[in-house]
Subunit: 338 residues, 2 copies
Amino acid sequence: MVTLKDIAAEAGVSITTVSNVVHNRTSRVSPERVAKIWEIIERRNYVPSMTARTLAKDSSSIIGVITHLTVQNLGSTMSDPFLSSFVEGVERRTREEGYFMMVRSVEDSQALDSLSRSWRLSGVIMTGMFQDDFFEYTRNLNIPFVLIDSYIDLPDVYNVGLEDEKGAYMATKHLLDNGHRVIAFASPTIQPGGVVEKRFQGYCRALEEYGIPFDPSRVFTQEITVEEGCKLGHVLSRRPEITGIVASADILAAGIMAGLRQKGVRVPEDKSIVGFDDNFLSKLTNPGLTTIHQDIERKGILAMNMLLAQIRNEPVDTRCVILPVTLVERESVRNLNA
Amino acid sequence: MVTLKDIAAEAGVSITTVSNVVHNRTSRVSPERVAKIWEIIERRNYVPSMTARTLAKDSSSIIGVITHLTVQNLGSTMSDPFLSSFVEGVERRTREEGYFMMVRSVEDSQALDSLSRSWRLSGVIMTGMFQDDFFEYTRNLNIPFVLIDSYIDLPDVYNVGLEDEKGAYMATKHLLDNGHRVIAFASPTIQPGGVVEKRFQGYCRALEEYGIPFDPSRVFTQEITVEEGCKLGHVLSRRPEITGIVASADILAAGIMAGLRQKGVRVPEDKSIVGFDDNFLSKLTNPGLTTIHQDIERKGILAMNMLLAQIRNEPVDTRCVILPVTLVERESVRNLNA
């Protein structure tokens, strides 16, 4: 069996250099040297084994990106097209740092336990809603982990989140500032402790500031799909008193706009709408969608950075990064004061 | 060290049953038995090791989903939001079959070689454009692999593709049947042997059938992003003679529509457009986008099924599955004959 040492000896370089080439960390190695090392590796048929290394180190260099499989989203945890930006950010950072990314949906904490133990995962990034006991369980696994968009109240937990409450507050206030007084809130089911609840609270806070009583008949919850958004557009077309809509995601806003259009309701002439995300959809809707901007790819990069700091026992400034939001004005809001 | 055998003995079940529970294949095990086995696993702190198993079997149960990192797409190989549907299909099938999914961008065949050897990958699914020598190289790795949307001409290669030529032919013919005679083709760079070239050929075939000479000034290539699509919309707004547009992707079509709108050009009154993909975008554009339908998630499922058949040495009916396309009519094409 050919070893790393044999390759290093023949190439006249250090074992570390060979290891770096094998694991594609070649930024500090000359192209000629990389080529030479690969030539030797291939000729001697050296097979660097991550699995042997894993057993020796008791850590696999695999980062698990975990999404939650629930009865509601069964089979479609990753169909959110915007998750791909997040995954891309994580994948790039794992590659740059000599790690590997495994993407997995888990239905419960046992599935995560099994995955983590089986593969000696180096760390875990968890996206989506999980129950509180899930996190307690994850802590007991004793591997570094970072939560995404979590509002779980546990000490020492790493989290990359967003100004969710503020974002929805800004969206609602923008409609209020433009003279709207009857404003709907459209979102998936509002679960305690989740992102959607925070956005809902932002909506309520803006209404309260303007002295507008909360009216539950103006809250509409449904799945975040184009089809459901479209149906909701039909429902809203029969509510002429509602002049403003805050949607908790751009894809929902775009679906609502399509549904309103099918019923002959014009945006922004008849109804104004503000989205949340500022992904490419907001540039494609007609009219362009006024929305709350967030940077999903950056979430992935930051999550991976926080995970690496834990794995390497490096100091971190904070365990909780909350990314800022901004309002991006396009053409979907009519100024009723004008 | 506690072994699988110890757990099986205490639970009074077979080693296979414990292994199935550990790897989450619990469909044939009663919930009570699953719970009992997990209780024993946790109490005795049994750690099933995939890495030990990998060394023993010389195969890791990891399926690599490989995208190609090129100078053009550097850092954004996975930002195509529709790749997530594909990845979801693969992930679900890996999970159902007791495999794991690693997602990775590679810049060259050496990076794939390194990944495959290091992890003893059980199989590889390759998406995106690769050079011919890349495939030769991959064949020499001697691991099962399946290509996605490849037109590589190698014997014995497994491929899941699409009726690309026919789809673009149908899109172009639909415009011709509706009286359009000056039709543009919009796509990313047309590379020999790639998906885009096949779609381009379908466009040319339809023109030829109608006796319309090919005019290179009607072919527009650019990156597939909303911004580039939008810019192309501006360019097309200054070409009044062009009444029909075939776009090789819905996201490009939607970008073009946004750009045309910014310049006051109406769809379908002034220009008609047909997309390709039929993803959720085609339902969100205003007007709704007439397009060619394909099922991306199904591509992922079929690719994984073909890979499993190879891994298990099961017979396969065919090494090459070509998924059908259909034309979905919405509102973006005007009938000039009417």
